[in-house]
Symmetry: C2
Subunit: 472 residues, 2 copies
């Protein structure tokens, strides 16, 4: 440890107390990376656990005084390496700030700290008949702070939108330790720039979110569930397109491809038809006659498209079973496929069939297994490349397939990340997707808010030219 | 005209053609101000009418080369002086860029130029069974560009949100003339910062929007309409609060106070009860049994609160009649009250009754007439101060009442502008509402994107200290 490091560590310990500043390498290693296996990760000099906004401000004052990089993180459920540690930096773990500060039924909002787990918030408001929609797959362990940092989506997005749609106000500690409060408690408000939504999705590069005021919705009705299988991706794609043009807004509309179906069946032994090329699962949560009508129209659309099988149920346990195959897709791919690279392309909803076919072509071309599950209702697909991590050649082909999928997504008018974020794994792709003017605007805004570039450096975009070493 | 002015005017004329660059003071005067009578306005050196993005880029290159302020504007329907001209500057009128470039039913989106009138877009998508919800009162003449610049709301917000909720992507010409494309055509996407939503609501201070990709919704069902009158504001406030806590989401929930009711009755001779202190008008557009149920619950809530009168109808012509009183409120106040100052405070929905009573107290205290209409469902109130503009003392009291109302809104946890924007009339109030840290962040972002401060200077916030002259 250098004298400088000892100095700022002492300052941190003075400010937060010794139990909040950990440096034991065995402990800090547990906070060095998220769930993205392909992302590089450094070794933090310290892992810090703030308990309150003042603690975060103190950490950022120390960090800016000494020029130490700070990587904020929650539970580490990220899939893009966005919270991976920087060598010699501070990893700021927000999980101790885990209070639901307020639930207001009269104003239909909640005020929470960033370390609150998504499910904890859902449970906290359910008793008041309220609903916090954003539901990433990791909802039972990911934190709201991470959801805000990556603008998380989930299965609900087709009807209810993503995290940013629920953000009314934020408290953010800026790079220099000043505390910004922005946004409001009212439903509407246009007093000044929409700073809250600038911080949402900025992956910890502009400030550290320490509190959020979140809009809630009335709890939906119990869902009616439909599952339908198709012999071609084009048929399933046609259904999704007709759902959109018919003006249906199901509360869930998921798709999985033939590879996923076969893989899930290997694990679940559910007797799924191995000739099926696409499975759609949909739900309506409007309740009563409206839900019945919505499901009836969906059923008709599936039948018109030539579905092999269509089944719907109002029984929630049976609905959960129909959804189980979809929920099993990633775990099954992980169990059967060895290592997995989970991609995250969103395409216009009219291009889903073309995207599935393109993924099949890439799998054949690169000689790897690619299973696709996705949120069909909003076009956000998760093609998952399976490979043997011990086989260098296979690994290389898997990485190449991952890139091919991103290029395919862009060629179809899509985006390279629908909900996981750029993190550290898609820096080149961000540049390619948004182009030099937008990249320059990103850098200008970053410099305006974090002139020394200490907040989560090397995430989302490079402040240094491509190819330079980032220390992780 | 100075030599410098002649030089840049010649450059503009060379680039855009003489019919796009107007300097005749009789003509330019028509573009000097919006609808906010209390806002100062300067005299532009030129009013410029771009036809395409390249024209806008050329104007901004000329302006930045010569250091000329540029004020973008649409139809001039603004209510906060946000597009009022700056002395010696360029007023950039976007109304000739008025094409609906694309309507996609398959991806449920439209691509439009900024000069498209809100109603023009609504009509263009209606034929495809689609719906662009944001509906400011001026929807039949305001432009989408202005709606984007101010993040417009309207009557629909209670159920459908505001303009920013419909923005997928933007093309923006930056202060130096570079063209930024940001956002996407997909429903979801988190590639980089949410720049689109930073430009939305920035009132022309960060760039000039030249194209927008907007999400659409399926057309709603024909509305069922309910009207209810109350002898006290507390009763009406109770209904609004119970609507929220009961989890109802009507498609419209408007309120008007006793002053408005009496004034409207003077004009319409509709026999409205002069003892009524609040009138609620609500709609449900869910259709069929769901709408009937929603209106039945609303009726019960009104009756429980002790309504004097409750009436609902599925007949659309009768529904329009019930809404007519609400739509007449501002015109009636203008006709009867002389000059009007329309305020735009949004309060938490639980504070509406307190806000109405507070406005009555302010009216008594300042000895002016204040009528309040508002979007009760989202807490956005429009208290309107009526006064005789020729009476200096009354004018002064009216302005004082306007400020009292803003202070009242803040004291109730609200915001000083729910949907009209800060413009040039609420600079002091923005500072008071957001505080010094947020103001500094605004200035940093402004400097990052418009270092010379040429885009709509003096709007939203001051780049110069309070009290300095802004030239308009």
């Amino acid at each position: 440890m250098t004298t400088t490091t000892a100095t700022w560590l002492a300052e941190l310990t003075d400010a937060l107390g010794p139990d909040s500043v950990l440096t034991d390498p065995d402990v800090t290693a547990a906070y060095a990376r998220d769930q993205a296996m392909m992302a590089p990760a450094g070794t933090p000099a310290a892992v810090v656990f703030p308990r309150r906004t003042d603690d975060v401000a103190a950490v950022l004052r120390v960090a800016s005084r000494h020029g130490i990089p700070v990587v904020p993180r929650g539970a580490g459920s990220g899939l893009a390496g966005g919270s991976n540690a920087v060598d010699g930096g501070i990893t700021l773990v927000m999980t101790r700030m885990d209070a639901v500060l307020e639930v207001s039924t009269a104003d239909r909002l909640a005020v929470v700290q960033p370390g609150v787990v998504n499910k904890q918030l859902r449970d906290a408001v359910a008793g008041s008949g309220l609903f916090y929609p954003p539901d990433p797959s990791s909802y039972d362990w990911c934190t709201i702070g991470g959801n805000l940092a990556t603008n998380s989506g989930g299965l609900c997005c087709v009807k209810y939108g993503v995290t940013t749609d629920y953000v009314l106000g934020l408290e953010v500690v800026l790079a220099d330790g000043r505390v910004l409060r922005t946004g409001r408690r009212t439903v509407k408000g246009v007093a000044g720039y929409d700073l809250a939504r600038l911080f949402v999705g900025s992956e910890g590069t502009l400030g550290v979110i320490t509190e959020a005021t979140l809009a809630l919705r009335p709890a939906p009705k119990a869902p009616v569930t439909l599952a339908a299988s198709f012999a071609t991706t084009a048929q399933a794609g046609q259904v999704v397109e007709r759902v959109v043009t018919a003006g249906l807004v199901p509360s869930l509309l998921e798709i999985m491809d033939g590879t996923c179906i076969r893989t899930v069946d290997q694990v679940l032994k559910a007797g799924l038809d191995h000739d099926t090329r696409a499975l759609l699962v949909a739900q309506s949560d409007t309740g009563g006659a409206a839900a019945a009508e919505e499901i009836a129209v969906l059923t008709a659309l599936c039948e018109e498209a030539g579905a092999q099988f269509v089944h719907s149920t109002e029984d929630q346990a049976e609905g959960d079973l129909l959804l189980a195959a979809r929920r099993m897709a990633l775990p099954a791919l992980e169990r059967v496929g060895g290592a997995v690279l989970i991609d995250d392309v969103a395409v216009p909803r009219s291009r889903i069939a073309g995207f599935l076919d393109g993924c099949d072509a890439i799998a054949a071309d690169r000689d790897v297994v690619i299973g696709v599950v996705g949120h069909a209702g909003d076009g956000n697909m998760h093609p998952t490349v399976c490979f043997d991590a011990g086989d260098a050649d296979q690994r290389q082909r898997a990485y190449a397939a991952f890139d091919d999928i991103l290029a395919l997504g862009l060629s179809l008018g899509g985006t390279t990340t629908g909900e996981h974020g750029v993190g550290t794994i898609k820096l080149d792709w961000l540049e390619r997707e948004i182009g030099p003017v937008a990249l320059d605007v990103h850098r200008s805004i970053k410099s305006a808010l974090d002139p020394a570039g200490l907040l989560n450096p090397g995430t989302v975009f490079r402040s240094t030219p491509a190819g330079a070493t980032l220390g992780r």
